[in-house]
């Protein structure tokens, strides 16, 4: 499998706190990789370093390299904004723009960056919403405020918003942890379909979810990558004792 994103000896510090310790992983193109581990193990920190979200945290220091199609995204000459257009992100809590309609939320990436012509926008809104299986539910209320949607719908709207800007990689930070089981199921089905086109890295607390949706799994503990491999292998015959203890619920 072709590598899309490669972390090379990635270290993240927050002041004196060494949050991610010398991690090296390859994320394969058009695959779903789950990052699991107990709270505070650095999962989200790893995820957020892939779209340079730490740039905004003054205390954060990222060292090592992250290669996107072989190019180091932390190179001085590279603008974090252009990276974020290629590497989209979906957050734990659905966060549609509250002042915008459903329609405007989908094309928010364009609207906030300038103008977009009407036909192009219409087409983009329809295709993006169809892609996240939200079109049939909201096609009659595109002008309604996005906050009127249910939590699950809002999260799918956020995913639509993310894919509307045509990224190549999508990062998901526990995208279903604030949702009910039915909405969670819909999101999971969605992720399954999205990997045809995108490379997906998902942080999850839910082990069954990781087992269900991911092709590869990375287990982190105390800022260190303990084990990385095919999901099937990690969940059936892990090499490390720590991994086995965690996935069988003996600690964490």
């Amino acid at each position: 499998m072709k590598t899309k994103v490669k972390l090379e000896d990635l270290n993240v510090h927050f002041d004196k706190n060494h949050a991610v310790k010398g991690t090296t992983i390859d994320f394969g193109e058009n695959s779903v990789t789950a990052i699991i581990g107990p709270s505070g193990c650095g999962k989200s920190t790893v995820l957020r370093s892939i779209n340079r979200m730490h740039d905004l945290v003054p205390t954060a220091k990222v060292t090592g390299r992250i290669l996107l199609d072989g190019i180091n995204i932390y190179e001085r000459t590279i603008d974090s904004v252009s990276i974020r257009r290629l590497v989209g992100m979906v957050f734990q809590k659905p966060n549609p723009f509250p002042a915008m309609s459903v329609y405007d939320n989908v094309i928010a990436g364009y609207k906030l960056n300038g103008r977009i012509n009407k036909d192009e926008a219409d087409e983009l809104v329809e295709s993006s919403l169809k892609r996240v299986a939200l079109w049939d539910e909201v096609k009659d209320r595109l002008k309604a405020n996005s906050m009127e949607l249910s939590g699950g719908q809002q999260q799918r709207l956020c995913i639509a918003r993310t894919i509307a800007v045509k990224p190549e990689v999508i990062l998901m930070d526990e995208p279903a942890s604030a949702l009910d089981p039915l909405s969670t199921l819909k999101i999971e089905e969605l992720i399954e379909g999205l990997k045809e086109k995108y490379t997906i890295v998902i942080v999850t607390h839910n082990m069954q979810q990781a087992a269900r949706i991911s092709d590869y799994t990375a287990f982190f503990y105390l800022g260190e990558l303990i084990e990385f491999g095919e999901t099937k292998k990690i969940f059936t015959t892990p090499d490390k004792k720590q991994t086995e203890d965690y996935i069988t619920g003996r600690f964490g």
Binding site: P58, V81, N95
Partner: protein
């Protein structure tokens, strides 16, 4: 049993003193408003709003030029003060490193504590001296100096309350930080920001001291921003210390209009603040 009744007594005494304190706060406000109403209401008529002051000796006339002048000064002061205050707050919250922010914050606090007559002197030195004359511009500059720290601090508080998830949503879409700050963060804090702006305008609309040797005042209409301009507080001041009965009347009426304006601004600010909490 005895202790119990002591507690009850203690409680009523404390409650009573707090009620008294509240009344003591409210009474002066009520008295001022009532007195100004009594003295000013009879002099409020159409002439007051459309005419300029009559020469001494003649009766009648109004404060039209003063009201217009106050609006011009407020508008111009806002034009200078609002961008500085708002963008300054955006910088503090969205960009500022901790040390720089602390310095700016402290400077703003000191600036808001400076007696307003000093801001008048600053404007005098910056504009009146070099331009060799009193002007509406100088008056506006003095008022804007009072506005900036108020707008800066209220905007800062509002921006801090915008959840990070909203900023992240925008940034993750590849929207640059400056666009995110203006189009997402500032926009979602807009109601609170407007409340702060209204309070700042209410504050400067009654300022007299900084205008004394900047805008100077004008008995007539002024046509240029580089000329002295009339303002309500200045006119009230001039008329109130004059020996003419008719001018005293106008001063009372002016005071009533000014207080009503400030009252209206504060009420709108409160109303906006309240609707924000509901949403």
């Amino acid at each position: 049993m005895k202790i119990f009744s002591f507690r009850k007594l203690n409680n009523s005494v404390m409650t009573l003193s707090m009620v008294m304190a509240t009344i003591l706060v409210l009474v002066p406000l009520g008295l001022i408003f009532f007195h100004i109403m009594k003295m000013g209401l009879s002099s409020i008529n159409l002439d007051f709003f459309v005419q300029i002051p009559k020469p001494t000796g003649e009766t009648g006339g109004g404060m039209a030029n003063g009201m217009a002048g106050t609006f011009v000064l407020i508008a111009l002061a806002s034009l200078i003060g609002l961008p500085v205050g708002i963008l300054g707050a955006v910088y503090l919250v969205e960009y500022g490193g901790t040390r720089i922010s602390a310095v700016i914050r402290f400077a703003a606090d000191v600036l808001s504590g400076i007696p307003s007559i000093i801001t008048g002197m600053v404007a005098y030195a910056m504009l009146v001296e070099p331009m060799k004359g009193f002007s509406a511009l100088a008056g506006s500059l003095a008022l804007s100096l009072i506005m900036v720290p108020i707008v800066l601090r209220t905007t800062e508080e509002q921006l801090k309350m915008v959840p990070d998830t909203l900023r992240e949503a925008s940034l993750a879409l590849g929207v640059p930080l400056w666009r995110t700050s203006l189009k997402v963060t500032l926009r979602s804090a807009m109601k609170g920001v407007v409340t702060g702006i209204l309070l700042a305008i209410a504050r400067i609309s009654g300022e007299t001291a900084p205008l004394l040797f900047t805008a100077l005042g004008n008995q007539f209409w002024s046509n240029k921003l580089t000329e002295p301009i009339a303002a309500m507080p200045l006119q009230i001041f001039t008329f109130a210390i004059s020996p003419y009965e008719d001018w005293h009347r106008l001063a009372w009426a002016g005071a009533l209009v000014l207080v009503t304006l400030m009252f209206g601004l504060s009420l709108s600010a409160r109303y906006l603040g309240r609707t924000k909490q509901q949403s």
